[in-house]
């Protein structure tokens, strides 16, 4: 009897807690952010040799997106630029990237990768906790079930990237350490 009562209570609790919106896979959302960043960041003049060169999104090491990112940017353009998605083993060929993503699986070498990219006009995006403090530009952070952004503005300026105030307004601005 007691048991049945507690079941009913549990069921009632479940109903009350159930009302929530749809949820997406974390990396679908992060892929959409990467696409959006391209709209709100301006690379220094001369970045693109030809006016219709694609914006290269590079993923270093392990790729957590599967084919989501390719599928998402397929056929999309920003101005005259289409997109290309590339995978790199390290930063040696990173000079042709406009956006460079370093996933959580590469956490151990994230700092080393960032050090090698210092000053390059590349929008680095990463997942380790202190990514923007460690020399990266945009860090993803999960707050409960939502994705939050941290931006190291000074690092972006040093890389000669201009980030629109709209994007900055939605992010937490952090300072680089060291």
């Amino acid at each position: 009897m007691h048991f049945r009562l507690s079941l009913i209570l549990l069921a009632a609790g479940a109903l009350q807690l159930g009302a929530q919106g749809p949820a997406f896979d974390e990396y679908q959302v992060k892929a959409a952010f990467l696409y959006n960043f391209a709209k709100f960041v301006e690379w220094p003049p001369g970045t693109f040799a030809n006016a219709n060169d694609p914006i290269a999104i590079c993923i270093v090491g392990q790729n957590p997106f599967g084919s989501t990112l390719e599928d998402m940017v397929q056929g999309k353009t920003i101005g005259d630029h289409a997109f290309s998605v590339r995978r790199l083993p390290d930063t040696q060929q990173a000079s042709k990237c406009q956006i460079l993503f370093i996933g959580a699986a590469e956490s151990k070498r994230t700092r080393v990768l960032l050090e090698a990219l210092k000053g390059a006009a590349i929008l680095t995006v990463g997942e380790i906790d202190d990514f923007s403090a460690a020399g990266g530009i945009i860090g993803f952070r999960l707050e409960g079930t939502r994705v939050r952004l941290q931006i190291a503005l000074e690092t972006a300026e040093r890389a000669r990237l201009r980030i629109s105030s709209k994007l900055l307004g939605l992010a937490e601005i952090v300072k680089r350490q060291q």
Binding site: Q20, A23, F33, R109, Q178
Partner: protein, 661 residues
């Protein structure tokens, strides 16, 4: 540095298509995107999902919401692990059978430092008092881990990993009190050290009352513990990370033992035995990471302890150094190899009733291992490895393993593995000289049962086959199942020798000698399963199941009738369900209900119900109240073991305030 090696080795995630939804997220603007709810498999789970071993990860969230005040209580949530409280100081914790006080077939590490005591051949759980708030995660690997972790990682490895001091800035004060754990407090402060470093220092106090005894045995298991420690992490450069950490503890407790009080005159008794433990350790680790993802690390630690328990006294000093090199060779090979050296010096202060011969020993252990994870295809990985060790008792030993992982999509993983592992002998196995029992003989005569170590020792061996399946069935449900078949040989037995009369010391008496030998074998099979079901965004339930069928037998030449009773100390089955609810913004209500099957050694099955209510007040305050064993006033979890008399685990309540500033 051995910490989380399994995880770092098992990272490849197959890059097959993810389930896409009809709504195109690129149509959303930035603000909307920030409000999209995401379902994430945590980074850790993602790594675990392609590991070729049975792994369970206890996260900091699990720890916080468990209501537990000690590490053994936390381990109750892990399928395949059997945790039994013997009294407030002694625990029996084992994986896949062979449970015992000082269970000797499981290796426990804190940040890569082994806490396996070389003389007690097991873990002194009361001394393992890491502040739970500082634990980042606990990885429990069921099944042999000898290839990477070496001897004694036979039935499993428990890897406790503390947070970097970078992640614990500011102050932390917890104050708690309750009925069993009477008072507990932690004071911690952390911050930056220079431009590139960080630190934390802490002090901890805890005080437990006595348990309820069985019958008329005196309860002596109250315990006071003081502990202090620090950790400091330094980014010397982007590629060099240095960690230095250390701690010191003073524990005063007790236990109730039954044994021989005196040979002349012959007296046995049940009495209160004090436990005193002073110990500390210091550990340093340097890791250098290279651009291509390779890394090297060097770790050294020194551990000193002075333990008085079960009527004996032991001083141990352990020095340990490990080097490890992880490298990516081409696109297919992820290789790790390492070298290790360990020296353990022991001085045993025995009595005429319990001595070691020789009382002082210094043993060295050399080891090397190599393990290669080979990417065979985009969805198939083969890991091969072997460890070679040289120990002071049996010389060279090897511990090979092979794992095959198939992940056809990133939602499903199937793995199989085969491995060999060993338990290495200790000082007790070769040098014990104990008088354990007095038996009355006709006409007022008496006999002494004496147990002797055997210098001609062997390693206990395990050959093991396992398979498992992991699935992220949908956004809300994940499942993990593992099954195993294990063959043990050369398990320790206690063989009777020919009795003889002795005239000294004291009155003439009969000596009934026993000697350790390695004449038992065992076979086990079983399964563990658990699931995580996010019923709603605010309610998660996690059921778990453990099945174990262990049978032991002795060689025809063995006369040890107790060998067959070995399986009687582990339950054949246990089940549990954990529930985590977020009620509103600030309230949490969590429960664990679990059944543990009976022990043939004389403990009936029991049901535990634990509950916890937590309330967050602002950013910095948290109140929680937890009740354990709510269904019954008291129950026994483990029988008397060797000398130690078991107590009863009580219904208890514990309340705690946590403040961060």
């Amino acid at each position: 540095m051995r910490l989380s090696l399994v995880l770092s080795l098992c990272v490849p995630i197959p890059s097959s298509a993810q389930a896409s939804t009809s709504r195109d997220l690129t149509q959303l603007d930035l603000e909307d995107l920030m409000n999209v709810q995401v379902t994430s498999v945590s980074k850790r789970e993602q790594k675990v999902s392609t590991a070729g071993a049975a792994i369970y990860v206890i996260t900091q969230e699990d720890i916080r919401r468990s209501g537990a005040t000690n590490i053994p209580d936390l381990l109750r949530m892990v399928p395949g692990v059997n945790v039994a409280r013997v009294d407030h100081s002694d625990w029996a914790v084992s994986i896949r059978g062979f449970n015992a006080v000082y269970a000797n077939k499981v290796l426990v590490l804190v940040d890569g430092r082994s806490v396996y005591h070389p003389v007690f051949s097991g873990v002194l759980w009361y001394a393992l008092d890491v502040p739970l708030e500082n634990i980042e995660r606990i990885e429990v690997i069921r099944g042999p881990g000898g290839t990477v972790w070496g001897a004694n990682a036979m039935n499993g490895v428990i890897n406790i990993i503390t947070k970097s001091s970078k992640n614990t800035p500011g102050g932390l004060v917890t104050v708690g009190g309750g009925t069993a754990e009477q008072a507990e407090g932690l004071v911690q402060y952390g911050g930056k050290a220079g431009k590139s470093g960080s630190y934390r220092v802490f002090g901890k106090y805890s005080n437990l009352g006595t348990s309820d005894p069985v019958g008329f045995a005196p309860a002596a298991d109250s315990r006071h513990a003081n502990q202090g420690g620090f950790r400091s992490d330094w980014d010397l450069s982007p590629r060099d990370l240095v960690t230095v950490q250390g701690e010191y503890r003073r524990v005063e407790g007790g236990e109730t033992t039954t044994g021989v009080l005196s040979r002349t005159p012959p007296i046995m008794g049940t009495f209160a035995q004090p436990i005193k433990d002073n110990g500390g350790n210091i550990l340093g680790r340097w890791t250098r990471t290279f651009l291509n993802g390779s890394d090297i690390s060097l770790q050294a630690y020194f551990d000193k302890s002075d333990v008085a328990a079960i009527g004996v006294h032991d001083w141990a000093s352990i020095g340990n150094i490990d080097f490890q090199h992880h490298l990516r060779l081409g696109s297919r090979n992820d290789l790790v190899w390492g070298l290790g050296y360990r020296v353990a010096a022991n001085r045993f202060g025995g009595t005429s009733l319990f001595a070691l011969n020789p009382p002082e020993r210094t043993d060295s252990l050399y080891s090397t291992f190599v393990q290669d994870e080979i990417t065979l295809t985009k969805t198939l990985w083969l890991t091969l490895g072997v460890k070679l060790e040289h120990n002071a008792y049996t010389g060279y030993e090897n511990e090979p393993s092979a794992q095959l992982v198939w992940a056809p999509t990133n939602r499903h993983t199937v793995w199989i593995s085969a491995a060999k592992a060993i338990r290495q002998p200790s000082n007790i196995d070769t040098g014990l000289q104990a008088t354990s029992l007095i038996v009355a003989l006709p006409q007022g005569a008496f006999g002494l049962v004496r147990v002797f170590g055997n210098p001609n020792t062997k390693v206990e061996q395990l050959r093991d086959l396992e398979t498992g399946y992991r699935a992220q069935i949908n956004r809300r449900l994940s499942l993990d199942v593992a099954g195993f078949l294990s063959f043990y040989k050369h398990l320790q037995t206690t063989e009777p020798q020919t009795p003889f009369f002795a005239l000294s010391p004291g009155p003439p008496h009969l000596v009934i000698p026993f000697i350790f030998d390695y004449k038992a074998h065992a076979r086990s099979y079983g399964a563990e399963a658990f699931a995580n079901w996010n019923v709603t965004n605010r309610w998660r339930i996690s059921p778990g199941l453990t099945l174990l069928n262990l049978s032991a037998s002795r060689d025809p030449s063995s006369q040890d009738a107790t060998a067959q009773r070995l399986p009687g100390y582990s339950p054949k089955r246990s089940y549990q369900v954990r529930s985590f609810m977020n009620l509103g913004r600030h309230f949490e209500w969590d429960q664990t209900a679990g059944y543990t099957g009976r022990l043939a050694a004389g403990i009936p099955g029991y049901v535990r119900l634990d509950t916890r209510i937590g309330r967050r007040i602002g950013e910095s305050w948290e109140l929680s109240i937890a009740g354990q064993n709510l269904l019954t006033p008291r129950h026994a979890e483990f029988p008397n073991f060797q000398f130690i008399e078991h107590m009863l685990d009580q219904r208890s309540i514990f309340a705690r305030i946590t403040v961060r500033f």
